[in-house]
């Protein structure tokens, strides 16, 4: 009985007793969730346009952030470094299309997936070769990223809102909004959707697959750069960030591999879910459940909706 009480009653009693901590946990979860969503978006963009699950998205987050910080450390002004980092992601997109995707056209998806594995290890090696393995501090002041904390007395306690977290949430939301507009309102966006629906049909109406792939990898690169800046500003830029990026996997399972709203909602559910789980139920098993809880949540969803919350329903002719 005691264990049932601890699992089903006590956490909720504690939530009621300390609503300030509940609010703080929800806020931390939301911020993490937005950042997970941002990383997941990079995966979704590429998957939608090419059907490739880009395993390299995590290292692209690290690589782009390292370029930015590395250039700044060499004396390049922050905004110029930012523009050059964006340029580097464009170069990467072109290189990936020419060297990886084009030669592998018409190969099975698993081959393309394995190619992104190769790309991951190539970028890790290249990043370490150029920038070394030391963690670096993200530029914040010169990029006008706010620092400091606002403490609000709420529900009988103190709730802390980091300005950087607020900025992360706002910037990520703007980014997501822009992508949504880009996909639905622009000509290129419509072309991307056409490619996502059917490569052959898109080709037949004169859409260049190669061009679309470059655009989509470039867009994923920019998303990676923004994610790298925000995560990096929170906890430093190091190669362990690429592991955090794998948290996007349960987000994708949950939201569906092809849905932008799915990535957003999935990110928020995973972010909030893992923080609540760790905070209220983690102590029951000695803590540290955050690492796997996200996958459990995603698996539970999979049981009921294999295509994810917003994924396209899988219908196959037998």
């Amino acid at each position: 009985m005691d264990i049932l009480y601890k699992v089903f009653i006590e956490p909720f009693v504690f939530m009621g007793e300390a609503p300030d901590l509940l609010l703080q946990t929800l806020w931390e979860g939301l911020v993490s969730g937005v950042l997970y969503a941002l990383i997941a978006l990079g995966f979704v963009l590429i998957f939608k346009a090419s059907g490739v699950f880009n395993f390299a998205q995590g290292i692209m987050v690290v690589f782009s952030a390292l370029i930015l910080v590395g250039l700044y450390e060499k004396g390049v002004p922050a905004f110029l470094a930012l523009i050059l980092a964006i340029g580097a992601m464009l170069l990467l997109a072109v290189a990936v299309e020419r060297v990886v995707l084009r030669p592998l056209v018409n190969q099975p998806d698993i081959i393309l997936f394995m190619a992104t594995f190769g790309l991951t290890y190539f970028l890790i090696g290249l990043g370490e070769l150029i920038f070394g393995g030391n963690p670096k501090e993200m530029i914040t002041g010169p990029l006008f990223l706010p620092q400091g904390t606002t403490e609000l007395e709420m529900f009988g306690g103190l709730v802390r809102f980091q300005h950087l977290d607020i900025a992360a949430a706002v910037i990520a939301s703007i980014m997501i909004g822009l992508l949504a507009v880009f996909f639905s309102k622009t000509r290129i966006g419509r072309a991307l959707r056409a490619v996502a629906d059917s490569h052959k049909a898109a080709l037949s109406v004169g859409i260049s697959l190669n061009q679309i792939w470059v655009i989509v990898w470039f867009a994923a690169g920019i998303v990676a750069l923004v994610a790298g800046i925000m995560w990096g500003a929170r906890s430093g830029v190091s190669f362990s960030l690429q592991i955090i990026a794998l948290k996007a996997l349960p987000v994708l399972i949950l939201g569906g591999f092809t849905s932008i709203p799915g990535a957003i909602i999935g990110g928020l559910i995973i972010g909030v879910g893992e923080k609540l789980g760790e905070f209220y139920w983690g102590p029951l098993v000695g803590g540290g459940i955050e690492t796997w809880l996200a996958y459990v949540i995603a698996l539970l969803f999979l049981l009921y909706r294999p295509q994810g919350l917003f994924g396209e329903k899988i219908i196959e002719r037998i």
Binding site: I124, G132, G236, F239, S240
Partner: protein, 440 residues
């Protein structure tokens, strides 16, 4: 490819490989250095690797090696990955290494049973299995100058003194933020014993390797539990992220302690808010020692070092120097004991047991005042030396305490029991047959 061509290729490869095997020569001593300059732990591993390499290279450049025998140094990148570390061990063991430094508790553990079989001593400097301090049970393993259990007892003792006595810890809560791996879990049994004995409560905050840079949950939990003190057992990017998160969450930094692994970069990560963060240490920082200046002159200035110039003399760099000081002293002592120049792993094991780094010897080595003395013996492979507390003042570490002796009375019985337990659980654990030198 025909069988003939394949055989020919293999024969040529073997011949080429044979000629480049560095340790085959009789006029050299092969010292592999297990390092990690890549991966999530590179932020710590790189500086240690540089310090280790540069001290030994300085001996090569300045003195022609040790006792006139050149040291052949070879790095093997482990990425702090146990599997890769064991692969490194397997790849170097055929080259007659005189000692192996795993630089990871996770890698050390599977190597411990192999050491006595392969006759290669293991130096796990202030990390690894605490119980391996017992030379009578672990004749091939050395973990000076203090075990993790010693370190934990020093922190608890220091906190107790701050509170006005160990008895004042009763009713307090101590948080333990640790890497969720062999290394981070190593001191937990002692912490739990001390908590029972001294009456303080323990709250554990494990950090998975994949979440090292995503610690908001742990610090939220700390806000819920309100630990009076927080002790950290972290490595790699976990340390810097923890300092940042502690500042972010408003945890009082003067109550935040760490074992001896954070470096300057980790403290800097917290910005001005990191002031007051404390950690144990047992050696100096800076380059104001003849041996360090020789490193500058003979290695760094000649472009033989991979270290960034401004990192030479920083805490983790000097930690690597200390590690290599022990290696070099083990080799030099082995040469004295055996009368041989090109010593073997078995000789160096004897050398390590006879290390006597007293102030006179440290002065002779150009490291006067760099660290406390260390004397190892046949039965004591650790030394259980005191460490001091240092505090981050916003720009540098400042020593704030006298040497803190470990709580030997409390640790020794635990350590003996753990060593005995290890030998019993590992069926067929060999009884020590290696003779003890008179000096040790």
């Amino acid at each position: 490819m025909s069988f003939r061509k394949l055989s020919l290729g293999l024969a040529v490869a073997t011949m080429i490989g044979g000629t480049v095997l560095p340790a085959a020569a009789q006029d050299s001593i092969y010292v592999p250095l297990f390092t990690y300059r890549t991966g999530p732990f590179a932020g710590s591993g790189t500086h240690i690797a540089d310090g280790m390499h540069d001290y030994l290279e300085m001996l090569n450049q300045r003195d022609g090696g040790i006792g006139g025998v050149k040291l052949v140094l070879e790095e093997c990148e482990t990425g702090y990955d146990t599997k890769k570390g064991v692969e490194c061990y397997e790849s170097v063991k055929g080259k007659n290494p005189v000692i192996v430094n795993p630089w990871s508790t996770g890698i050390t553990l599977p190597l411990i049973p192999r050491a006595s079989v392969d006759k290669i001593p293991i130096l796990s400097m202030a990390y690894g299995l605490s119980a391996s301090a017992r030379g009578d049970i672990f004749p091939w393993v050395f973990n000076p100058p203090a075990t993790y259990w010693d370190g934990l007892s020093m922190i608890v003792k220091y906190i107790g003194e701050k509170e006005g006595g160990l008895d004042k810890l009763k009713g307090k809560k101590i948080g333990f933020l640790h890497l969720d791996a062999s290394f981070g879990k190593e001191p937990i049994p002692l912490l739990q014993e001390l908590s029972k004995e001294l009456g303080f409560e323990v709250a554990l905050y494990p950090v998975a390797a994949q979440d090292m840079q995503n610690q908001s949950s742990q610090w939220l939990s700390a806000r819920r539990d309100r630990p009076d003190y927080m002790i950290m057992w972290g490595w790699g990017s976990m340390n810097g992220a923890a300092v940042k998160e502690a500042v972010r969450s408003g945890y009082p930094m003067d109550k935040f302690y760490s074992v001896w692994w954070p470096g300057e970069d980790d403290a800097r990560a917290g910005g001005a808010g990191a002031k007051g963060f404390k950690m144990l240490n047992w050696h100096a920082v800076g380059t104001n020692f003849p041996a360090l200046q020789d490193i500058q002159k003979h290695v760094v200035d000649k472009g033989l070092s991979k270290a960034q110039k401004d990192k030479v003399g920083e805490l983790l760099y000097n930690r690597g120097v200390y590690n290599s000081l022990l290696i070099a002293e083990g080799i030099a002592t082995a040469q004295k004991l055996t009368g041989k120049k090109a010593v073997t792993g078995e000789d160096v094991r004897r050398g390590m047991e006879n290390i006597k780094l007293d102030p006179a010897r440290l002065k002779e080595l150009g490291l006067e005042g760099f660290t406390d003395q260390l004397v190892l013996s046949c039965s004591d492979h650790n030394g259980h030396r005191p460490a001091f507390m240092q505090e981050w003042d916003g720009t540098k570490w400042v020593k704030i305490s006298n040497p803190i002796e470990p709580m030997t009375d409390r640790v020794k019985s635990q350590l003996d029991a753990a060593a005995k337990d290890y030998a019993e659980k590992n069926a067929g654990w060999p009884k020590r047959t290696e003779a003890c030198d008179k000096a040790s």
